[in-house]
């Protein structure tokens, strides 16, 4: 029974964090750039 509780608790924490992560990144939208030349990336 203890295993079930532990599994449910871990699942709940992961689901909570996943929801928070999704909500955090879902709101901002990408702004299309308007420059013809671009770098390969930023580090």
């Amino acid at each position: 029974m203890l295993k079930v509780f532990v599994a449910v608790a871990i699942g709940a924490v992961l689901a909570g964090l996943a929801s928070a992560a999704v909500i955090n990144v879902a709101s901002p939208s990408l702004e299309p750039p308007d420059k013809p030349l671009y770098n390969y990336g930023t580090r």
Partner: protein, 510 residues
């Protein structure tokens, strides 16, 4: 390592196919909008309509033979569909491969291994950098490891096909995993000889052009492409969580937050513990070979970050060390170790529930990493230009301007992509393969062009006065200019007659 089914146990078709179904499901969830009609374009992932089969590649063989395979497949099937099949195939191959390394009667463990290997930060970041050819090697890696642990040339050759299609990076990553496994094989020397010979034969398509290209490797690439911290736990913490890619723009949204990074690192720690336990119990030589490969991969990934000068010296001494500059690539065996380690805890129904853990740990890879992967179609003018140039039998190269490798178009939704002109035409395309990387610490890093002809044409373009006669003398027949109204080189090409003028493309013939 080589799973044996218990005698007398019958497994339903659904159970047998479950890793494949899970792989396709995860692929559909990750790709999301990228599966809509159109091409998915992002950084190195550039697929074009009707890619020519016989291309004059010249220069350094970057997309060899992956582009050729895509071109051949695109002959009977539309190229955009080929792309989607390849991307979904990566998830399918990765999931089934990881599952194939787990005993067949442990369904829950097979599915957890499949889920983790097909849904982790390594795969996500490389996908967002558009490195589908590398990911083919990553997806085929468990199959290659499995074949190396067994015996037989034919089996190993078949398992190595994804890496062979992917090209040099995919093959190197696969060899890193395979060679330590063969070194632990009971018939060690025979296994090593088989693996090396097959890999060498499959590498010829890129090895021969690479040796003949006269390409140079700029040691500055070490500063540009070394692994970096992409979360709060430093470079090593990022690498252990399968992150740490050099390009900050290839990150999965939200991955750098404390909560997300902590959970990922915890999962990695648990998985490493699980793998160590598995190793101790089974004493499987293939597993210990895989552990060596993972440690070596982690070491290579740390090399550029912690000993950059040593790596630069190696590259200056022999350019063949160049592929080590992007060391994070070599984390692929570690990803497999973590998948197997995590799977070792999965037993019974509760173990089955752990299949969702990789998705919950990295939820923002879903739906095309929240819009980072989308589908777009080329405007008609690109196809028109392609038809004009490919219909011309006269020899001569095409120069693509502006003189920079990467582009952003409104029709790609603002995604940065490698210039599509590099793949559209049957003739030699000369483009500036100098890579520009913006570093927050040291400003702009320019990794010098590898193609000798590109360096020569770049110098001709930089000279003052009309450029057309100089370019024609160098064997150039066409100049394709995108974003023509913002291109400084047009001032040097005023005496050339345009043969096509579209909304954003201008084609000049010398």
């Amino acid at each position: 390592m080589i799973p044996e089914i218990s005698v007398g146990k019958q497994r339903s078709l659904l159970v047998r196919l479950s890793p494949a179904l899970l792989g396709v499901l995860l692929g559909m969830l990750a790709l999301g909008p990228a599966l809509a009609p159109g091409f998915t374009l992002r950084y190195d992932m550039v697929f074009v309509p009707d890619p020519p089969i016989f291309r004059d590649l010249g220069g350094f063989p970057r997309s060899v033979p992956s582009d050729l395979v895509v071109a051949v497949l695109s002959y009977p099937i539309p190229a955009m569909l080929v792309q989607k099949l390849i991307l979904l195939g990566i998830f399918l191959l990765a999931a089934t491969g990881a599952a194939a390394l787990v005993p067949r009667d442990r369904t829950a463990a097979r599915l957890v291994a499949a889920a983790f290997y097909a849904w982790n930060l390594y795969l996500a970041q490389r996908l967002l950098l558009g490195q589908w050819a590398l990911l083919l090697g990553y997806a085929g890696l468990p199959w290659a490891v499995r074949a190396a642990a067994q015996s037989g040339v034919r089996r190993f050759a078949i398992a190595l096909i994804p890496a062979a299609v992917g090209g040099f990076q995919a093959m190197l990553v696969t060899l890193l995993a395979v060679l330590p496994v063969t070194a632990r094989h009971p018939e060690r020397w025979r296994a090593i000889a088989t693996a090396s010979t097959v890999a060498a034969v499959f590498s010829l398509p890129w090895l021969i052009p690479a040796l003949r290209s006269g390409a140079a490797t700029d040691p500055a690439g070490v500063d540009a492409f070394a692994a970096r911290a992409d979360g709060p736990f430093g470079t090593v913490g990022s690498l252990l969580s399968l992150g740490g890619i050099w390009n900050a723009e290839a990150g999965v949204p939200g991955q750098g937050s404390w909560a997300s990074a902590t959970i990922r690192l915890l999962v990695s720690a648990i998985a490493i513990w699980g793998f160590a336990r598995l190793l101790r119990r089974s004493r499987d030589p293939a597993l210990s070979g895989l552990a060596v490969a993972a440690a070596l991969g982690l070491g290579i990934a740390c090399l550029g970050a912690f000993l950059p000068d040593a790596l630069k010296t190696l590259i200056s001494w022999w350019p063949a060390f160049g592929p080590l500059r992007d060391g994070q690539v070599y984390l692929a065996p570690l990803a497999l170790v973590l998948a197997l380690g995590l799977a070792s805890f999965a037993r019974g129904r509760f173990g089955l529930a752990a299949v969702v853990v990789p998705v919950l740990v990295l939820p923002t890879l879903a739906i095309g990493a929240f819009g980072r992967l989308t589908a777009a179609d080329y405007p008609a003018e690109w196809r028109q230009v392609q038809r004009i140039v490919n219909a011309d039998p006269a020899p001569g190269a095409l120069v693509s301007l502006p003189w920079r490798a990467h582009r952003v178009f409104r029709w790609t939704g603002g995604q940065v992509i490698l210039d599509p002109a590099t793949k559209l035409f049957a003739r030699r395309v000369v483009w500036n393969d100098t890579l520009m990387i913006e570093s927050r610490e040291s400003g702009t890093i320019a990794v010098t062009a590898e193609d000798p002809l590109a360096r020569r044409v770049g110098a001709l373009l930089a000279e003052p006065g009309p450029a057309a006669p100089r370019l024609a003398a160098a064997g150039i027949r066409y100049i394709l200019v995108s974003h023509a109204n913002e291109n400084e080189f047009l001032l040097k090409l005023q005496d050339v007659t345009p043969i096509f003028r579209g909304e954003s493309l201008l084609l000049l013939r010398l």
